[in-house]
Subunit: 349 residues, 2 copies
Amino acid sequence: MTGKPVRLVDIAREAGVSLGAASQVMNGTGRIGQATQRRVLEAAERLGYRPNALARSIASGRSRTIAILAENASGQFCMPVLVGLNRALSGANLTSILYDAAHDDDLRAAHLREIQGRQAEGVVVIGEGPDVPASQIPHEVAGLTVYAFARPPGDGGVSVVPDNEQGGRLAAEHLQGLGRRTLVHVTAQAGLQAVTDRATGFVRGAEAAGSEVRVLYGGFDRRWGYEAADRILAEAPGTDAVFAGNDQIAVGLAAQLHARGVRIPQDVAIIGFDNVAGIEGDLDPFLTSVDPALTAVGTRAAQVVVDTLSGSAAAPASAVVPCWLAVGRSTVGGPADGRDHVLEELLLH
Amino acid sequence: MTGKPVRLVDIAREAGVSLGAASQVMNGTGRIGQATQRRVLEAAERLGYRPNALARSIASGRSRTIAILAENASGQFCMPVLVGLNRALSGANLTSILYDAAHDDDLRAAHLREIQGRQAEGVVVIGEGPDVPASQIPHEVAGLTVYAFARPPGDGGVSVVPDNEQGGRLAAEHLQGLGRRTLVHVTAQAGLQAVTDRATGFVRGAEAAGSEVRVLYGGFDRRWGYEAADRILAEAPGTDAVFAGNDQIAVGLAAQLHARGVRIPQDVAIIGFDNVAGIEGDLDPFLTSVDPALTAVGTRAAQVVVDTLSGSAAAPASAVVPCWLAVGRSTVGGPADGRDHVLEELLLH
DNA sequence: CTGAAAGCGCTTACAG
DNA sequence: CTGAAAGCGCTTACAG
C-alpha cells in the first residue's frame, strides 16, 4: 500500500495551470503553448503521474476495453488465438478483460452481464472452429462482436477463421513438389465445413497438377487412421502420399503403415492438419502438418475490432487467414541417424 | 448500437425513490423498507438495468479488477494456470484483465503502467516454474502481488507452486504399490529446485518402503532419455522401474528401452512428470505421469487474492499445491489388443 | 491560447 | 427508514 496516488489536479497545481489545461496536455488535444506543455509533462514525470483509466473512461465515454469471451478456454486451440488477440489489442492500447464460458450457459449469461456493466466497446468470442456454432451475443452487451475461430450463430456475424481450403491446397502443392502423384485424402465426416473445405482445396490443388485423389471419409480420431491405412494398402497399393484431415488421423495412419512395413516418407509421405506439435513448441517435428495459424487468426480479429472502433473501416467484415505448412520428417525425411523416427513420434500420447 | 443505457437515476425515478435509496437497494447496504426494495428491484428488472461498473469503481474506490500478468503466455504451462485463476477470480466477482509480457522488459513496463492506471487491486504473475525468477512488481502498481507457478523475485514474495517433492513421493508410492523394487530416477541438472524437490520426494518415498534408488542427472530433453536408457541397461540391468524428471525424458527412455527389446511396463515401468498428454486432453494416455495440478495452482492463487482483499486472511501467505498421478499404460499396462503401444505413443512429436 | 464550470454514473456519509 | 448533497478523477464544451 502506497500513499494517495497522484491525481491530475496535483499535476496542474505543480505546473501552475488549470485542470482543463493539464488534461489537454496529457491527451495531446486542444492547442496548448509549448512552454506550458513542457511544464505539465515535467510535473507529471516528476510526480510519477498515472492517469486513472476508470475516471478517464467514465468522463470520455470510451472504456478502451474489449471483452474476450472464450467458449471453452481449456480447449486445445484457444490459447494461440488468445495470445494473438491479446497482443494485438494491447498494442492498440485496448485492455482485454477475460471470460471463460466453459460451455456453461448460465456462466456465459453472467459473463455477458458483467461485460455490459464493464462498458466493453466490443467482444471477441473465441470459439471452437467452423463446425461448432458459437453463442449469440445480444446487441445490448456491446456495439461490436467478432467471432474468432468460430462459426457465428444464426444469420451473419463477423468472423475470422483459418482458410481451410487454402490449407488443403498447400498440402497438395507440397506433395506435388516432392514428386508424389498417387494421393489419398483421409478425413472425417463429409458433412463438416472444415472437412469439406480442406478436401476441396486438396483435390483442386492435386487436379491442377494432373494428379487424381481418392478421398476416404471417417472420423477425426486415430482409430480411423489405422483402418484407413489398411484400406489404402488393400485398395490403392500404389499410393505414395496421404493427406490426413487432422493430426490424430495422421498419427494413426503413420503407426499402422509403419507396422505394415511401409517406410515413411520413402514409400508414403504423410501430412496432417492442426500442427499440434507446433502448439507444443516442438522444433523438429516428425509430422508435416498444415498449421491453421491460430495466433494470426487472433491478431486479425483484433485488427477488425481496432479498425471498426477507429472508424477506419466502415463496417466490420469477416476475414479468412491463410494457413502455413510446418514441414517435418513425415514428408521430407530426416537425418539417417539410425533412430526409428516413426516410433519416436508415438510416445507422448 | 442500442439507445442510451439505463442508469440508476432512471430506476430511482421509475420506482419513485431517491438516487441514494436506489443505490443502497442495488448494493444490499443500508436499511431500506421491504416494499421500497421490491419496487426498486422490479424497476431495475423491468428496465434491464446494468450498473455501470466503472462509475461504481470510481465512486467506491474499489475496482474489483485483478491484473493477470503472464511472463510468457505462449508457454506450454501458462494456459492451465490461467484457466484456474480466471475461473476462481470470476467466481469471486473479480474481473481479470490480461497482459502478456512475452519475455519483453519494455512490454512488461508498459503493462505495469496500464495495470496501475486501471486501478487493479492486485496482480497475479503467471511465471514459468520455480527455476525461472519472475519479474518484480513495484508496490505502487498494486497493493497485492501473488506469483503463480513462479519463483518470486528477490526477497520474499507470495507464491503458489506445485508440490514437487510430494509429486516425487507419489511416483515412488505408485511403483511400490506395483511391486517394483529396483528404482532409478532419471532427471535433469542437479542445481534446479524442481529437480531437487522431485528427487528428494522420490528417494524418500522409496526408502521409506525399503527400496534403494539410483539417481542419474542430465537434462530435461529426450536425448538424455536415450542415453540414460543405455546406461541403465549397462550399469543397472535389474532395474524394474524408472521415474523420469519430466515427460520428455520419459519418452526418450521408453523409446530407447523399447528399441532394445525391453517391454514396458512388464520389464520396466516408466513414470514421467508434467502430464503433457493430460494438458492436451488425452483420455487414454500411454505415459503414467505426475500432474503438477496447474489449474489448481491458478485456483489457489486466486484464493490468496480473494482472501487477502476480503480481509479474511491477515497477510497473504505462500502455498504449495499437491500433485496427482495420471495413470497410463507405461506402469499398469493396457489391453492386449495386439497394438504396439510404445510405437503408438511416439508419433505426434 | 487558457481557465472556470458542468457533467460522466455511481457511492457514501449526514441530516432528518 | 429515507433523501439531498458532496465527492470519486477525469473530459469537454464554452467563455474569455
